[in-house]
């Protein structure tokens, strides 16, 4: 075996790779797999997580520092990029592996740390600073006094199936994916299984749509498969535009071939020869990696005409979504692909019967499709063994907000939300108290900190007033205002409503106005107005019912969800805003009342001149005074005061 493993060296061995049992592989193939999976390396390997969020944290500079370090010292080592390991708040992540030893990961690495870390590791010691842990591998020598990743609180309760190779393998290397057993399932599927068998297996597995619909994926496939048509389509929905959801991006950036394999199997199962990936145009890095992955698969003959003499043809192309939240809905997505405005259509007919260009079309989300190779490879029983009876498999959550650790978490369905929030991500940031958790993005719901003991599942979440949605989790502490958050989501929905259904278009607007109203301090308001506001708020529940019953798509049906659940659990906070005109965490700027410290004010008149409401009165060279009823809380006086005399409570 030569020193270097050339790219493409596994290509010739693919027939053996598919046909034989992995235990009976020839020594040549076995050795190659050892090398490509990095279980056996001949020179040091350094990997940097160059996913989008890592890049934003400065991973590119770390990568350059590593190459610079090696060049300067003339060290023969391999530097490669990888995806997100899931610790987004601790990026950039750097990992080092020496021949024969386990791989060690470092977090929060800066350019200056690179030299310290690499100096130590090349001298066979592991610096304790910035250290995360080592990856367990029985065939390699473990480092002394370095924790294993699976012992850390963040990883120990997770069950990583889809994210298994994220942040570990080079996403751009098809060889690495194949060496880890990739594409074997697809290539065996098209040889040994009929279309119906795959659909039945999927149905038996109980996999449900991961974008929030919760519909049985296998059932949907079966409909499309049994609808006769000369052309069928498979569309991968990668229009991940929920703010706070980034699991699909991580899957595409960290392991694009897993998704491509899922698409291949799904397309085969429904009898489609054309597949599309509809992806947000902002996802540059995902687009780059998927394009490279598709090209590599084509070069290997895994995509194209008559794939490995099976008679099955498949081409995958990428369509960039021009940016509309509503295009996450399948009929709107199809309209957008046809060059129209992304507006939902009434169903039925379902796209599985009549979709893109009026042909049977299956639209599946990235996470759903990434599950497919695992289900087919291990069988539906294996998949049903994970999770609960109603909800099988794992679910990936993306945690953001005021959490101690923010990132990606994959846990079996049925795990308690409390475990996720308290044990895995460690609750709120130190020094703060956990107030609530918002789940499911702009159409999700809020759950207070003491009501988190519910298992993760579509039905239990719905019963608790939250929505599983795409799996975005936002952690809130005492410094965040629930009313402001609801206002934010409603503003988002108002902006994203496509305008087709009047209840959604007008309803989101009305709700948004009302929330604006209660977070703003009117100049003159009597008791009557206050009560009117409160009545308006109470009537919102009725409005929410109308929107749910009469809107075509999920956007309108669920738009009021954050508000309804917030009213249910945090009613007192709304009342405080309405009656006391006070926002405890001081987030709602316009409710602030400013005061002038008489000790500090010199009477320079600057604030009085700049006040847009003429709310500041006084005489020159004597302390000034703010009339509370006139003050709108704009804060200009505080900004212009040179003596820091203006404050708010």
């Amino acid at each position: 075996m030569p020193e270097e493993v050339h790219t493409g060296s596994i290509k010739q061995l693919i027939p053996e790779f598919i046909e034989k049992d992995p235990k009976e592989y020839s020594p040549e193939l076995g050795e190659l797999i050892e090398r490509l999976t990095r279980r056996k390396i001949l020179k040091p390997l350094i990997m940097v997580g160059l996913n989008t969020s890592g890049r934003i944290a400065g991973a590119r500079r770390v990568f350059e520092a590593v190459t610079g370090y090696l060049k300067e010292r003339d060290i023969d080592a391999e530097v490669a990029e990888t995806g997100a390991i899931g610790l987004n708040s601790e990026e950039p992540v750097l990992s080092v592996q020496l021949p024969g030893r386990t791989r060690v990961l470092f977090i929060n690495v800066t350019v200056d740390d690179v030299q310290v870390i690499l100096d130590d590791v090349f001298h066979h010691t592991i610096p304790s600073e910035k250290l995360l842990g080592q990856i367990r591998d029985e065939n390699m020598d473990a480092w002394q006094d370095v924790p294993f990743l699976d012992e850390l609180a963040f990883f120990s309760r997770q069950r990583r199936i889809l994210l298994k190779h994220n942040g570990i393998i080079d996403p751009l290397s098809i060889d690495a994916y194949i060496a880890h057993g990739g594409y074997r399932t697809f290539l065996r599927t098209i040889r040994y299984h009929t279309l119906e068998e795959i659909c039945v297996m999927m149905e038996e597995s109980g996999l449900r749509g991961r974008s929030g619909s919760g519909f049985l994926t296998g059932k949907k496939w079966m409909v499309a498969q049994q609808t006769p048509a000369e052309q069928k389509y498979l569309v991968c929905n990668a229009e991940e535009s929920d703010p706070g959801a980034f699991m699909d991006r991580a899957l595409m950036e960290g392991n694009p071939h897993q998704l491509i394999e899922g698409i291949c199997i799904a397309a085969y199962a429904i009898g489609a020869t054309k597949a599309y990936i509809y992806i947000r145009s902002e996802y540059n890095d995902s687009i780059r990696k998927l394009s490279a992955a598709i090209q590599a698969a084509r070069d290997y003959g895994i995509l194209g005409h008559n794939i490995f003499f099976s008679g099955f043809n498949l081409s995958i192309s990428i369509r960039k979504g021009p940016g509309a939240f509503v295009c996450g809905e399948e009929t709107a997505l199809i309209a957008s692909m046809e060059g129209k405005r992304g507006m939902p259509q009434s169903k039925p007919p379902y796209p599985a019967v009549r979709g893109f260009h009026k042909k049977p079309t299956i639209v599946n989300n990235v996470e759903t499709l990434s599950n497919v190779p695992h289900i087919i490879a291990n069988g539906p029983e294996w998949f049903r063994g994970i999770g609960t009876g109603e909800c099988t498999g794992t679910k990936i959550f993306s945690v953001s907000g005021r959490a101690r650790t923010r990132g990606l978490i994959e846990i079996p369905m049925g795990t308690s939300l409390e475990v996720l929030v308290q044990e895995i991500i460690g609750g709120s940031q130190s020094g703060h108290t956990l107030k609530a958790v918002h789940i499911g993005g702009p159409y999700g719901g809020i759950l207070p900190a003491n009501k988190l003991n519910i298992p993760v599942c579509y039905e239990t979440f719905r019963r608790a007033g939250a929505v599983l949605g795409a799996g975005g989790i936002l952690v809130l502490d005492e410094k965040t205002c629930v009313v402001d958050l609801v206002k934010y989501f409603m503003g988002f929905m108002k902006h994203q409503s496509c305008g087709k259904c009047i209840p959604c278009r007008e309803g989101t607007k009305r709700m948004s106005e009302l929330l604006d109203e209660i977070t703003r301090k009117p100049l003159a308001e009597d008791q009557h107005d206050t009560l009117e506001k409160f009545r308006g708020l109470m009537q919102l529940e009725k409005l929410a019912d109308v929107m749910r019953d009469t809107s075509l798509c999920g956007l309108g049906q669920l738009a009021a969800n954050p508000l309804i659940s917030a009213l249910r659990h945090f009613r007192e906070e709304f009342e405080e805003h309405i009656f006391d005109r006070h926002c405890k965490p001081n987030v709602c700027r316009e409710l602030r009342t400013y005061y002038i410290d008489v000790e500090l004010c010199t009477g320079c008149t600057v604030c009085a001149k700049r006040c847009p409401e003429d709310a500041i009165i006084g005489t020159e060279r004597h302390p000034y005074f703010i009339v509370p009823d006139k003050c709108t809380g704009c804060g200009i006086c505080k900004e212009v005061c040179k003596f820091s005399a203006v404050f708010y409570n």
């Binding site: 934003i56 980034f246 940016g323 993306s398 953001s400 907000g401 923010r406």
Partner: protein, 153 residues
């Protein structure tokens, strides 16, 4: 041959499916969609320019005015929002004298609020062209802008 004709000649398939990819290609080239380019696209795809304009305004990706030399994007995703991205935006509005979707008169800066940049672990985030600034504070904005202005004076 005009640059726009060159782009259009790449799209031989003349049907409605090609409309969004054509608009994206034109915007990638020019940075925005001008009235003239919409008319040319319409003529090529045999669609009225009004329909194209109607479609383009529906989607957030398309802009109809040229961007500044430094295009500033402020993330207002959920995580950035609760980390007070609004005050960063306010500071930028104040410092530049422009609001979301506008450009300064000298063509130096333009401002855009985006839904989510996908770095929710690093919130709040802003980007100036392709340079990202994680965990940015509103008090640091002035210095950032001054640095850029210094480079050009």
């Amino acid at each position: 041959m005009d640059r726009i004709d060159q782009i259009l000649s790449d799209f031989q398939q003349v049907n409605r499916d090609a409309l969004i990819p054509v608009l994206q290609a034109v915007q990638d080239e020019f940075g925005y969609l001008s009235g003239e380019s919409l008319e040319k696209i319409g003529a090529h795809l045999r669609l009225p320019a009004s329909k194209i304009y109607g479609l383009a305004t529906f989607y957030s990706q398309f802009t109809f005015a040229p961007r500044g030399k430094y295009h500033i994007r402020v993330c207002n995703g959920t995580a950035c929002h609760i980390d007070r991205s609004t005050s960063i935006l306010k500071e930028l509005n104040k410092q530049l004298g422009i609001v979301d979707g506008e450009a300064t008169r000298d063509g130096m800066f333009s401002l855009e609020v985006v839904a989510c940049m996908g770095a929710c672990g690093q919130s709040p985030v802003i980007a100036i062209n392709e340079e990202y600034y994680p965990k940015v504070r509103s008090s640091a904005i002035r210095g950032l802008l001054d640095d850029i202005r210094m480079k050009h004076s």
